[in-house]
Assembly symmetry: C2
Homo-oligomer: 456 residues x 2
């Protein structure tokens, strides 16, 4: 039995218990009512980094939630790996759909159910335990730095300033992130790109107060009806985004790239069955992988207005609102898209209502190199750990920090995620397979080994 497997076997239960302790903190960054819990989570992460053997551990204050930093420098001449992760999680709503409480981790058929189990507590904590493992066994082959933030789910608003102010402290040869998914344990994969994000909130105001729909119905514009019409005109009949100029900066993939992408295993019937839908939806002319990985999209994340309680209330609402986000692909710019959306949305607003558009946050799309030493090290680590070469894929999600790092620090990223699309990220009953958790802990040290060897 390898040193790695042996150590994991000996400390399996404790490594699981520690993750459970981390998952019990309701560190929801989007909702101010969890503020105290988010702050406690940062302290917990710092404590665990120290226990694992990190030096100069600091809970770095920002204008928002703190960033936890820690490092272990064994030799200034050895390469340095900067591990990024986030300890904040998505809101647990809708609570009633959780089979077990979101912040009381529960194991069912080999899976850990909890908000953040995979995104990203379960995944970044693998790095903390892999670090401990290396420290306790053969030692670190490279220097390591940790940067675990608490605002990823709300746009990493304060990470940019932190990075600018800590360029020296953050010097590294590669950024290693486990906050993405692979196809399956049988088909390990490495994401080579991520979509950007532009998230906005829109508010349509009609009359200055809620009205009786009988007395005023038919006389004044209903903001819910108007908002519906405006949202309806955001996509055309081919489900392409109708905002003028939206696709201008999109670079079409070569047919070779498209073929490579579509060669990944995909079962349409299985995909539909998992989602419980009879038919899929999306931009005409592109496969499911292409639509989720390589094409920009626009989604309504939330919509509300008028009476949404029990029973019937014959009201003509004063306001209707929606949260809308767009996923961007390489070469699109978040700020530009936010402006294009805003200009278009205001331009289609009828004179019968007032419309307000408020940007929430954004992030730039990225493509990670597949010819770098770091990427090769990841390939070799996965091949050794899974006994299979990883398939390169494009991720549909967004990790704004990746583009930020490249711009500010000039460091490329390797996305070595161990999650699965079926982990219910951002959904009720989020889970992370115990097997994937430990597979990650076993694979990460191999990345460090190969990265050190290839860097020689």
């Amino acid at each position: 039995m390898s040193v790695i497997k042996n150590y994991v076997a000996q400390h399996e239960q404790r490594m699981l218990d520690e993750l459970f302790d981390l998952l019990r903190y309701p560190s929801v960054s989007a909702d101010p009512k969890y503020k105290a819990d988010v702050l406690k989570t940062a302290d917990f992460v710092a404590k665990k980094l120290i226990e694992a053997g990190a030096d100069n551990v600091e809970v770095c204050q920002t204008a928002g939630y703190p960033i936890v930093y820690g490092e272990k420098i064994i030799d200034a001449n050895k390469p340095t790996v900067l591990v990024y992760g986030h300890y904040d999680v998505q809101p647990p709503d809708p609570l009633e759909l959780w089979e077990t409480p979101p912040f009381e981790p529960t194991i069912r058929d080999g899976k850990i159910f909890a908000r953040g189990a995979c995104d990203d507590k379960g995944q970044f904590y693998m790095h903390v335990k892999a670090f401990e493992l290396m420290m306790q066994t053969d030692g670190l082959p490279c220097n390591i730095k940790f940067m675990i933030e608490g605002e990823e789910e709300v746009g990493s608003d304060n990470l940019g300033d932190f990075v600018k102010q800590n360029k020296n402290r953050l010097k590294a040869d590669v950024i290693l992130i486990s906050d993405t998914a692979m196809i399956s344990m049988e088909h390990p994969s490495l994401e080579t790109g991520l979509r950007g994000l532009s998230y906005l909130e829109v508010e349509v105001t009609g009359p200055n107060r809620d009205l009786h729909s009988g007395v005023y119905g038919g006389a004044v514009a209903n903001p819910a009806t108007i908002l519906a019409k405006m949202i309806a005109s955001l996509h055309d009949e081919n489900n392409r985004i109708a905002i003028p100029g939206f696709y201008d900066d999109v670079i079409d993939l070569s047919s070779a790239e498209r073929d490579a992408l579509n060669s990944a295993p995909y079962d349409d019937a299985e995909y539909k069955a998992d989602l419980g839908v009879n038919e899929l939806w999306g931009e005409k002319g592109y496969s499911t992988f292409e639509r989720t990985g390589t094409r920009p999209t626009l989604e309504v994340n939330g919509i509300w207005g008028g009476y949404i309680g029990e029973g019937a209330k014959t009201v003509l609402p004063s306001k209707a609102s929606a949260k809308i986000s767009m996923r961007l692909v390489p070469n699109q710019g978040s700020a530009k898209i936010t402006k294009l959306f805003t200009d278009y949305f205001l331009s289609i607003a009828p004179a019968t209502v007032k419309v307000k558009v408020t940007p929430h946050h954004g992030g730039e799309p990225v493509v990670t190199p597949t010819d770098s030493i770091a990427y090769k090290a990841a390939q070799q680590a996965i091949a050794e750990s899974f006994g299979k070469e990883p398939i390169p894929t494009r991720g549909g999600g967004s990790i704004p920090i990746v583009a930020l790092f490249e711009a500010e620090l000039g460091i490329k990223t390797v996305l070595m995620g161990f999650g699965l699309d079926s982990d219910n990220l951002h959904s009720p009953n989020e889970k992370y397979d115990i097997a994937n958790y430990f597979k990650g802990i076993e694979t990460i040290p191999l990345f460090f080994k190969h990265f050190a060897d290839l860097s020689k």
Copy 2:
């Protein structure tokens, strides 16, 4: 000073205090959490009828909330007036917009602010006090019967059965209802028609769970987007309802009727200023009075789906829903319109989602005669009390019971309302002017007097 004015002057404060006691009961029929309060309200109404001098007062149980009955028969040969009202109120949401608590009546510049102040507690209670006044002064000129229900705001579901089972007890020559508005104290009016109602709830289901909008965005239909598209196709470019057959049974008014209706005082600038809008909206080719009084309408009363909390959640929701109601005009049938809506809404549902339509409740439109003794009595009462002939108008609201009464009991209704369109019915800060309350108490006995005289 007349006997009437004299009695009101002597008992003004008590008559106000009693109304305040009534308004303090949060009798919201739409929300089960208020059940105990609704039941207490019925008991309070019964107590007040007894105190005012009614006989055979009974809190009549139904499958839903009880109906309070009371009567005073002075002479079987005299005509009988059946007074209808409702003690239930609309939900107070959105609570944060109330300047003072909805169930703690507060007086500001001569107005009583409270949920139900006008609709309908303040208005039906005028009849209880007018009844007391007649009993304590010159006596009743006609027999009187009271029927005060507790489910008007949720469709009067159980009133039909009650009426069928109590045809004898409810025998009367006219039904008198104060649950509508007049143009103003300077321009008293009588409503000669009411719109019907068809209220439904729709639910659009996409994927079987909330999804990560990055991982799945662009691959599967977003129910919020689809619902928006479906709602957008309920009106055409002239703001006419696009449901096939919707207007088939609508009888167009004669140009004479339209002229009469449009002769009522109306100030477009004032109307817009009161609502705080730059432009009005509605079916092309009709005036504001026509659109709210004589044309059918379709309004979204509520819409919701996805994440509607603070901040941002990049979720692709599993479901999106809306509450939608249609106001119907004479000769349209609620059941038929409900079916037309349902058929059309299901027909425009794409195969990418599942759509459910659930009818809430409905009511038939009515036109009240203007050549009856009862209508003339109301005209004379208002002319005497206001010193001005009332203007006939068409009301945009719905009181399903009116059509039901006519069908089941063969009795016509007189709509003698003392509210104002600006009373914020169904809205935050509902109010009723103290002056209107007492004007009603003074006018009602005059109706009884003239109705008795004209019936001779």
